[in-house]
Amino acid sequence: MNLFLDALNFLFDPANLAGSNGILSRLVDHLWYTGLSMAVAVVIGIPLGLLVGHTGRGRNAVVAVSSAARALPTLGLIFLIILYTGLGVGPLIVVLVILAVPPLLAGAYSGLEAVNRQTIDAARAIGMTEWQILLKVEMPLAMPLIFGGIRSATLQVIATATIAGYVGLTGLGRFLIEGLALRDYKLALAGAILVIALALCVDAILALAQRLVVPHGVARGLTRHTDESAAPTPRQHGRVSPAPSNP
């Protein structure tokens, strides 16, 4: 308990806030690594997930690669990359991106897969283009799951970005590493608390953003899907292909 109080004392001591090794500076670095990797991961993972979900193609490959990527030991991977590239932000970002892409992919494609086939079929039948179906039907309806992927990827990246401290970078992980190296456990604990607090805050902000982005009626829409998939008719015609195919 004493240790915990010491850690809190450290956190609330204004002297530890500023400066190049202060909490603020390292917090900003941590956020910078997180933001950069998430931006790259979103650009890769979401479109790919949407493509797989919309067409229904390549799903197995994506699942295989995703689970392989999830199984990679992060620390080992980053040292491996550093062996080849040398120190720098690059290897860290690569590793965090590899970590973040699978949940983003999974959120996007499972989100699209969860959209009722009949809804998509009807959208196509009344004359929506494939893009319109994706943007105006599939994505809004998949938004809760897409956002779920974004949130879980972000949490993982925030937690894992602490390894930046091991490879000569900064971020909140520095407190942990310095604390362990110096056997200054209050410092290590303070670092851990900071990472957890950051993760909770960011997740809360994302939850708020989700409320704004997910259209009204989607929650209803989703409950309706389960209603309809219980009805006797769906999928009678098998999977709807993106365009009418002519064998």
Partner: protein, 305 residues
């Protein structure tokens, strides 16, 4: 006018859903495709708006091959109503109805005003406009589906078992509403059902189909009832079981001016007015054959009971 020219559809898995189908569907009339499940009705219907492309053969609308333009433009010019309404669950009723006009670039205010009028047209209260589809009953959702199908003021309306999933009383309502709409709007309607009574009620031209969309008989309901072309047709419309052939039941004591009719199996089919104990149009001998035809449309349920 919609023309099928030797249209065949074989799905990639080898299923021959439609085989060498040729037919003309006249303009401003309702053509009903009727047949058992799996006989190819939906496939026929969806080839009209290119949701399915024929393997061979061609389809023309007013003489123009539908394959010549873009599929999206074609679909936007044709109303489509399906069994489970197919409404977009994340959009309010009014936005659902206005979907295609908005895609076509109609101003939002105009599209919404028109959508409101369409709700009137299909007999829906305007307060429902701001609900989400899941907040409506099945029958109301189907009405919204019809309103959406009418939103682009199409010449052609495709309806795939639109009333198949609603209860019989609501279905009756919707059928009557469709008859009224069709009377007012004069669209070329292509209607798919497996219910022969619905087909006879709604169809100007009824097409009875067997597996592979083989035409068993085409004609007006009267023609088909009067002269079933084959045993299959007779069986399908219930004529073989005597369902369509009604007789005066003399065992029931008369009260007032009504005469009780029974079908071939002896089930009570309904009553017919016989003022002063005399059947209309009948001379001394009551001609139950001609009676059977004139009242047959209304008498089916009794046989199923």
């Amino acid at each position: 006018m919609i023309e099928f020219h030797s249209v065949t559809k074989r799905f990639p898995d080898g299923t021959l859903a439609v085989e060498d189908f040729s037919l003309v569907l006249p303009s401003r009339k309702t053509t009903v495709f009727v047949g058992s499940s799996g006989c190819g009705k939906t496939t026929l219907l969806r080839m009209i708006n290119r949701m399915i492309d024929p393997t061979s053969g061609s389809i023309a609308i007013d003489g123009v091959d539908i394959a010549s333009g873009s599929a999206v433009a074609l679909r936007r010019s044709i109303g489509y109503v399906m069994q489970n309404s197919g409404l977009l669950p994340h959009r309010r009723v009014i936005d659902n109805v206005a979907t295609v006009p908005l895609l076509k670039g109609v101003k939002k205010a105009d599209a919404h005003a028109q959508a409101m009028e369409l709700l009137d047209t299909v007999g829906l209260d305007r307060v429902l406009a701001y609900r989400y589809p899941s907040q409506l009953s099945g029958g109301q959702q189907q009405r919204v589906g019809v309103a959406r199908g009418l939103a682009v003021n199409p010449n052609i309306l495709l309806m795939d078992e639109p009333f198949g999933a609603v209860d019989p009383i609501v279905r009756d309502d919707l059928q009557q509403e469709l008859l009224r709409l069709q009377h007012d709007l004069d669209k070329t309607v292509v209607f798919v059902t497996h219910d022969i009574d619905e087909a006879f009620l709604l169809g100007d031209q009824v097409v009875i189909l067997e597996k592979g969309a083989q035409i068993a008989q085409v004609g007006t309901p009267k023609e088909i009832l009067a002269n079933p072309a084959s045993d299959f047709v007779a069986s399908f419309i219930g004529a073989d079981r005597g369902k369509r052939r009604l007789a005066v039941d003399s065992s029931v004591a008369r009260s007032g001016d009504d005469v009780v009719l029974v079908d071939g199996a002896g089930y009570v089919a309904g009553v017919i007015e016989a003022p002063g104990g005399v059947l209309p149009g009948a001379g001394a001998g009551v001609n139950t054959d001609s009676l059977a035809r004139s009242v047959s449309n209304k008498t089916d349920q009794a046989g199923d009971a």
